[in-house]
Amino acid sequence: MTSSWTGALRRYALRKLPPEKLLPESQPAYMASWIYVFGVLTVAALVVVLVSGGVLALFGPAWWHVSSVGKYVNSVHLWSVELFMAVMVIHLWGKFFMAAWRGRRALTWMTGAVTFLASIGTAFTGYVVQQNFDSQWISGQAKDALNAVGVGAWFNVLDFGQMLMWHIVLLPLVIGLLTVWHVLLVRMRGIVPPIGATAPGDER
């Protein structure tokens, strides 16, 4: 056995998340409800958001105002965000009512909740970089709130360049990393058993 950092990392990763746990072909029988679909729907919607946003990024922020194809791609981006937020909120409420943080899963809940908050920030920065009347009005209103708590000079919603960077670089990176972390935690801990459930053979 080598003592390299690389080898140590590989052994740690395999111990924490062996391949059969990372990509299992079976799940506990109690995982039988439509509510479970909303987690994977959230990840799927995020992919559509990222791809449609990527196409918009490819042609630049002004493209969709002057091209009918661009307008359609922008519309796909908008509606996939609406779907993303909707399925994520259902996923969040579902996990709340399942008390899904039980059994050393608090970090899974916390990464999910922070992803939700980061998504709100990302969507907001998207609204202020549309380069239209909505952007003008929303940024004009939002600056007062941000200035009121003393952060408006550093997170200046009237600075289009700064907001564009937050929207297409920093926040997607945060959401991407949090999502990966969240999903890996789900795979590591497994699906939370029903409230009050005892392992078969453990009943009294």
């Binding site: 072909e25 994977v40 307008k71 009121a148 708590v149 939370v192 029903p194 459930a197």
Partner: protein, 318 residues
């Protein structure tokens, strides 16, 4: 005692998922189907409903569509009575300006970081830096030679007179001594209508720029922008930012944030923004920390919604 403790420990213990019977489950297939469903839904909704794209307001379009509002705003900038002039940090150091959360004034504590002098930045410098007719050059010289009190007296008197004139029309203002103010305001209107002011407030000697702070502050000082927003149900009392132009869902997820602005005491508080942010910061932290908050973390057990989710499990167990 021991029994009670034992029950408490047993109640808190969550068995490992591996201890339960399993069934075949194809995660990758599930994800692929979900991806196709979301992609098709997004593409379909985009085709059906498109997305809003209301043309932005420029200083040129504002000054052409509502010249009297633009003139009144320019005069307010000179008089120091505009929203921007009275704003406080981070734009200027107006005494007493700045919101507080109780005794804590974060806005003032942050200081003036993006200095804006509305009279100089929005009116005087653009006029000075443009080729102007003789009457505007003379007006600028008269303004520069005057004392601050004299400037204030002229601009305040003209602002009042414009307020009393029919439709705020400068041509119908009662005659009085307004010094160089009418000529300065008229000069700026011409500059704005020609489109020059849009560029002047933006470039400031640079070719590339992305910061719209100054033109946006000037736009927001007038009532043209907010009148358009009111017509599009976008103001704070109309659930504000969570809406967008047209009949689109907007940022519906901001409902709780926007909700506080609709009720007292926040509806009428001059510190509403700071107070609502403080509330939302606490609530956001609480959301993240739900697993550790006694009472809140027990709500799922009390509501028993989970019995719907795992109804098969509980039925089998019975």
């Amino acid at each position: 005692m021991k029994g009670a403790r034992g029950r408490a420990v047993k109640g808190a213990r969550v068995p490992a998922p591996e201890a339960f019977p399993t069934r075949p489950y194809d995660l990758l297939k599930e994800f692929t189907i979900a991806l196709v469903v979301v992609a098709v839904l997004s593409a379909g909704l985009a085709g059906l409903f498109s997305s809003p794209d209301e043309t932005p307001v420029t200083l040129a379009s504002w000054s052409s569509a509502a010249p009297n509002d633009f003139t009144a705003t320019a005069v307010a900038e000179l008089a120091g009575s505009s929203t921007s002039a009275q704003y406080g940090p981070p734009y200027n150091d107006t005494p007493g300006a700045g919101q507080k959360i109780g005794p804590v004034g974060l806005q003032r504590a942050a200081g003036v970081r993006i200095p804006v002098d509305p009279a100089e930045d929005f009116v005087l410098r653009p006029l000075r830096e443009s080729p102007e007719p003789p009457e505007v050059t003379t007006a600028l010289a008269q303004w520069n030679a005057a004392t601050p009190d004299q400037r204030q007296a002229w601009s305040s008197a003209y602002a009042d007179a414009l307020g009393k004139a029919p439709d705020g029309d400068p041509a119908k203002v009662a005659p009085a001594d307004y010094g160089p103010v009418p000529a300065l305001a008229a000069g700026l209107l011409t500059l704005a209508q020609a489109g020059s002011l849009d560029g002047q407030l933006l470039t400031r000697g640079r070719f590339y720029q992305t910061d719209y702070t100054k033109p946006m502050l000037l736009l927001a000082d007038g009532s043209y922008l907010s009148d358009r927003a009111t017509a599009q149900h976008l103001t704070g009392s109309q659930w504000g930012m969570m809406n967008e132009t047209g009949n689109y869902p907007g940022q519906a997820w901001l409902w709780l944030y926007t909700f506080w602005y609709q009720i007292d005491p926040f509806k009428s508080s001059k510190n509403a923004d700071a107070e609502v942010w403080a509330i939302m910061a606490v609530l956001s932290l609480a959301l993240v920390l739900v697993p550790f908050i006694p009472g809140v973390r027990s709500v799922p057990r009390w509501t028993r919604v989970y019995r719907l989710v795992w109804r098969d499990h509980y039925r089998t167990r019975r």
